[in-house]
Symmetry: C2
Subunit: 797 residues, 2 copies
């Protein structure tokens, strides 16, 4: 692997600079060890004693010195080149490093004025770390400069690219841990170069930190040899430079020279691309982006051996190298020696303030990585310029009087949003934008593509605004990075496969929950999911493509950050989309089909209905204000089946008073005490009645309806239908039959649950049973649904 | 990239062999097109007419010819070398290919006698494909020879390695789609070579099929140039050979020569490793395994252009190249011409039977890939030789009279299981085996490691039986492949991060659900999860590490394949582990902590308690058969808090009759009508009472308890406590306080819900409020829990 030797650039660091960077490195190491171990005596003014040491030692030392080294060196190039740079820390366990650096450069005190840059502040900084009522041990939202928690490993590089997109002057330095590098998400993230436009996007500078070990094992990438590693990275579009060593002075010179080299190369690539843009043609070599492979010992500068066992440079340095210090005189001495090895007396003055050398080493104001506004993206957020969604509505002469593909209706709106907000909005999806009927966007933009292009290709260009890659991890990670830096986006995905990023959603939702209580964090655009190609219309792809459980997954997270919408038709989807794009700090899950289905509401009716979130559909009801039964529905296919059932009931049991209630905003079902969107109980009772049977057809697993309505007066009368894991490759209507959510079954449910129906009802019930049997034979003979089912729509009155 | 030219090996295929392979290729292509399009006239004995064509055209043609080509060539080498080979199909959408091949070689008729190898059988084969009541469009469990559905892309290569482990004579041919290759799971799966032992494991032969396109886009790996692709693969430990072309005859020769070459190399690697085993030392080059990169046009041999637009060789060939045939005379003609281009009259006799040339081309009996027993792993399954788990129990002189780390107790048992079943059981985990206290296994085996080893390393060896890699995807994928081929295993994982494989679990659970109804599929060992480092004891790692939602995720799948266990202590964990390792065809989720906690039951009591699944703990109850309140608990930390609450209640409200019920088998809570493990209602009522308040402390999100008990008589009186997404880096007890599941809060819940308590109760309630306040101050001052909480155990009576 290439190395930039000092000779090539001369000694980059003169004596003073070397002193500066090394002092910074020592100071942040000192502050990191202090955070892990000390609750008092921060400047070691007195000999270290048991009462100065925390009772529980938490934190991860192993990765910390490497993170400190990089931060110190970034500070130099930021100053010298006036760089706009943020720092993403894959080894998120290294929280102490970032807290140390933010404190030293002053951005920590800016965010938390009570943690001053003096001895008292240092003592508070130390004590609060991993301490009840204090700050978490990871690079959490509480830390200035962070947009990446890193507790669940694997997403750093995708976040870095998301941050770099559409920020042409930004350099995102991204430390990738060699443990993290084994994850699937990270392994495919290296390919992101093929989706970065050097003309319009910023740069990502990955620093793969090969400290060699995970919790208890060596890492794969540190044990395959430099040649294999270099090939792997080159094959992913990178040109790696190696910085290796364990003598700080030599590592400083090598790191400085290498950083200068890679930043020069980045500048060169950008300059050339900005002069002449375009994707490479077949045969033309692609541009390799420079990156750094940094090899330093795990737990570098910490205790070499503890109790005779090698710690530094092994996995034993992963967490706290000295695990039981309090009450262990020998270990206390080792700790004191370790802390003093950084020569704190040279670094902090009598009052505990960083000496001038350190203060000068840090950049100023917003150039400090802890204060860079990109890492508090809401500060830079520009609202979307949104067209009136009503302009994209479909004509609905009467309920069911026209048909549309809901997502195609939305596609027109999204295209106009993209046209108006060209560098402030992106659409993400795993190769499904066209399949999901959003192809209108290709009239205003292309798909981002920075690899070879053939003449037969369509809509590929380096500056495309639609991000398509067959990796839900990349879509999610890129989008998160984009949102966290204050821009807007939408992730469209097959419903079943959104589970691939369940855990990434978890982490983002937790991030949002925590940031709500952090005053200095500005609001960011919501994370918007459009889940389509959904469970009920995966009759063609079969059982593996049928799973509506993402909704269940998201509602386990804090109610204040979760919103779920199930628009019943295209106009409602438009209204919901408009609402979601305006919202902030939420996760919005929107589920809508892409197949032709009747439209129920005009766009104005849709806007009113969606604003309410749920409502009685009078035109489909005949209850005169006092229903015998309520038919509830949430989701496009359940709505269709409920309306068809209501139609059957009118024909077969015309005296039965039926009320149809459609739910768009699922959280309306929950009590107001449990969700901010929850309908007040009195209103809920007025709509669903306090005592009549409620037959509810729901898009997903039916239990969620019970959960949401659990505290409602009438919950014992709720009978929910939904997906129950029955499915295969079959017809659309057979899917609802297999899961007992079809119109015939719903009529049977009504008959079974409404008390006191005349004997006629038993006859009707049998007729429904017969209809299901006829269906069964028909589809198995013809391979498609019966016309009477396929073509049904709400009848003209 | 290397190519094996015909010259190097001479022409591998003589005239007869070339005729054979090409006939096989044409026949399977014909059968594939027939499946997608035809419901009648299978041999084209009459001109193709509308009524012969399916009304709905479903299926994926694009990938199919490539899959057929590979299958045909594998047949040759299987025959010539008497190979034991199975075929894993990453592009799982290519179901028609595998059905065609299985039918042609006869394994399909073996599994489904009504689908004979004649014209009638062919017609049934065609008609049933993607037809209601027939077979799915993907490589589903219904297809003989498959262990991989492939609807959700990305897991083929991990499955292939799982199948190869401990099968020294097996060759697993694994087609990796170039779309699939963009996923995270697949990207990291290339690294699996570093975990394969050539001495003891079989071989994986990946064939990266660069057909160039996904649904609507080119693929990344097809557009980065051969040089970059070669480097990428070499960096991952592979030596790729390129086979490229679109003229079948030339491709046949190149493919045959290349297959011979790579199989020779595989044999060579294995021979050498079996002569002298060991991991490479630093500096020593690693062995590169051969693989194939196959470049053929997408939709190869299909229509070149349709309506003037290029289809073959583009993404437009992904699904059905001719989308509306019925009623379109021109398209019907194109289809007929396409089908006839394979010259079916040369391939099938008058009765529709494959001609002799074809019959001879296929291997015989179990060597046919559709009949290979490894692909129906239960046929080869050997039961584990299990020790008596009671021998590993901890002493429990009285309830709470000793302490243990539950997973460490289990570790001893697992170690003995591994010792006795050295090549029939593996332990999988993302770098957490020691962290999860299972280190006893390292007394009997090592961690699998086939990369460089340093002198400071511990327990690394190529033939280790513990699979550690920082990728939950690889752990899950390898284990699935291992189980599906009839072996046993356990996946130990941090609870929060198991969500990373939510979607993989989904697919496996769906596979198990479907296979229950497939008679010829033999039972396989259950997929066992040990989730530890769980939500309540991630006080040290903080909020990102706290998520108990996997249980909610799994219970959405079919009850007949899902089991969830929450053993309250180490002896119970032993009993549960023993049970799970004996079970078949389930997913068992076991959640247990790794921290020191009191033991409640002797190992014999534990065995009895776990066999019942739930039960009253008499020793903790004072209800005399008629309780005022029931305290329920499920999970180790909830059990601790409930017992501590019961202790407090005895002290503060000695007249209150309290019953403590512990639940190990969570599904016991559900009604017998909903889950096979469900307790009959009468028994449930006897234990939980029909009308008394039930305060239930649960390990996960409390809503699940309501869901499970929804149909129980007394469900309105259930008050559940659990995790509600409150957490950070703090103390263990503070975690339960933050989530209102602590002993004090539980006492308050009792007081709030038991009617008619004396005024004394109000005083006690305030005392509990005070205790919480004292706790709050204490931990914020001292950074650790109060001794009275930390050291509490059940008092000696």
């Amino acid at each position: 692997m290439r190395r930039v030797t000092a000779g090539e650039h001369g000694q980059v660091l003169d004596e003073q600079a070397l002193a500066g960077v090394d002092a910074y490195f020592r100071a942040t190491n000192y502050l990191s060890v202090g955070q892990i171990y000390l609750m008092d005596n921060p400047l070691l003014k007195e000999p270290l004693a048991a009462e100065h040491i925390k009772p529980r030692l938490l934190g991860h030392w192993g990765t910390t010195p490497g993170l400190n080294l990089i931060y110190a060196h970034c500070n130099r190039v930021i100053r010298e080149r006036d760089l706009d740079m943020i720092y993403i820390i894959g080894p998120g366990h290294g929280g102490p490093a970032i807290a140390s650096n933010a404190w030293l450069e002053g951005s920590y005190s800016d965010a938390y004025p009570s943690i001053r840059r003096d001895a008292g502040g240092m003592q508070r900084l130390f004590r609060q770390f991993s301490f009840p009522g204090g700050i978490p041990s990871h690079v959490a939202p509480e830390l200035p400069g962070s947009i990446h928690e890193g507790g669940e490993l694997g997403y750093s590089l995708a976040h870095a690219f998301g941050a770099a997109f559409d920020n042409p002057d930004l350099v995102v330095t991204c430390v990738v841990g060699d443990g993290e590098a084994e994850t699937g998400a990270l392994a495919t993230s290296w390919q992101s170069t093929r989706f970065l436009d050097a003309s319009r996007d910023g740069a990502v500078l990955p620093i793969l930190h090969l400290n060699g070990y995970k919790i208890a094992n060596p890492t794969v990438l540190s044990r395959i040899g430099d040649e294999a590693l270099e090939k792997l990275l080159q094959g992913c579009g990178w040109k790696p430079y190696l910085v290796e060593g364990d003598e700080p002075e030599l590592v400083h010179q090598a790191m400085a020279a290498t950083l200068d080299r890679v930043l020069d190369e980045i500048k060169g690539i950008q300059a050339q691309a900005r002069a002449e843009s375009g994707a490479p043609s077949p045969g033309e070599p692609e541009v390799l982006w420079p990156m750094i492979v940094l090899k330093t010992p795990k737990g570098w500068t910490g205790p070499d051996k503890v109790d005779g066992v090698q710690v530094q440079g092994t996995w034993r340095a992963h967490q706290v190298p000295l695990a039981s210090v309090r009450g262990n005189v020998e270990h206390t001495a080792v700790l004191e020696q370790w802390l003093r090895s950084y020569r704190p007396e040279e670094l902090f003055d009598e009052q505990g303030r960083p000496v001038e050398l350190l203060q000068e080493w840090a950049p100023k104001w917003d150039r400090r990585m802890g204060a860079n506004p990109h890492a508090n993206g809401g500060r830079l957020m520009v609202d979307l310029d949104l067209p009136d969604f009503r302009d994209f509505g479909v004509e609905v002469p009467r309920p069911g009087g026209s048909v549309a593909e809901a997502t195609r209706v939305m596609g027109g709106f999204v295209a106009e949003v993209m046209r108006r907000n060209m560098h402030n909005f992106r659409l993400f999806g795993p190769d499904e934008t066209a399949s999901n009927r959003l192809a209108a966007v290709f009239e205003v933009t292309n798909k981002t593509w920075n690899a070879q292009v053939l003449p037969t290709d369509e809509h590929l260009a380096p500056d495309g605004r639609v991000m398509e890659v067959l990796s839900e991890h990349l879509c999610q990670g890129w989008l998160e990075g984009y949102l966290l830096t204050g821009r807007h986006g939408l992730f469209s995905c097959y419903e079943a496969f959104i589970h691939i990023i369940d855990s990434m959603f978890n982490q983002h939702a937790k991030w949002l929950k925590v940031t709500r209580n952090i005053e200095w964090r500005a609001s960011i655009p919501s994370l918007n999911y459009l889940l389509t190609s959904h469970v009920w219309r995966q009759d063609h792809n079969g059982f593996s493509h049928q799973d509506p459980g993402f909704i269940d997954h998201v509602v386990n997270k804090k109610a204040e950050v979760i919103r779920v919408y199930l628009p019943p038709d295209g106009n409602c989807l438009l209204s919901v989309a408009d609402h979601c794009l305006r919202s902030r700090d939420y996760v919005n899950v929107v589920v809508a089909g892409k197949q032709l289905q009747p439209n129920w509401l005009t766009v104005d009716e849709a806007a009113a209905h969606c604003a309410r979130g749920l409502g009685v559909w009078e035109w489909a009801s005949n209850d005169d204000g006092d229903p015998d039964v309520v038919l509830g529905c949430a989701g496009d296919v359940p709505t269709l089946e409920v309306l068809a059932a209501a139609d059957l009931l009118r024909q077969y049991l015309p005296d039965l008073k039926v009320r149809v209630v459609n739910v768009v905003d699922l959280m309306k079902l929950q009590s107001a005490s449990e969700h901010p969107h929850g309908l007040p109980d009195a209103e809920f009772d007025a709509i669903f009645t306090p005592d009549k049977p409620i037959i509810f057809a729901y898009h997903g697993y039916p239990w969620l309806i019970h959960r949401l309505t659990y505290r409602r007066t009438n919950h014992d009368n709720v009978h929910a239908r939904g997906y129950k894991e029955e499915g295969t490759t079959t017809t659309p209507f057979d899917m609802v039959v297999m899961n007992d959510m079809d119109r015939y079954k719903l009529v049977m449910d009504v008959i079974d649950r409404v008390p006191g129906l005349a004997t006629k009802a038993a006859v009707v019930r049998q007729q429904m049973v017969d209809k299901r049997a006829v269906h069964h034979r028909y589809v198995r003979e013809h391979g498609e649904d019966m016309p009477e089912v396929r073509d049904w729509t709400w009848p003209e009155s």
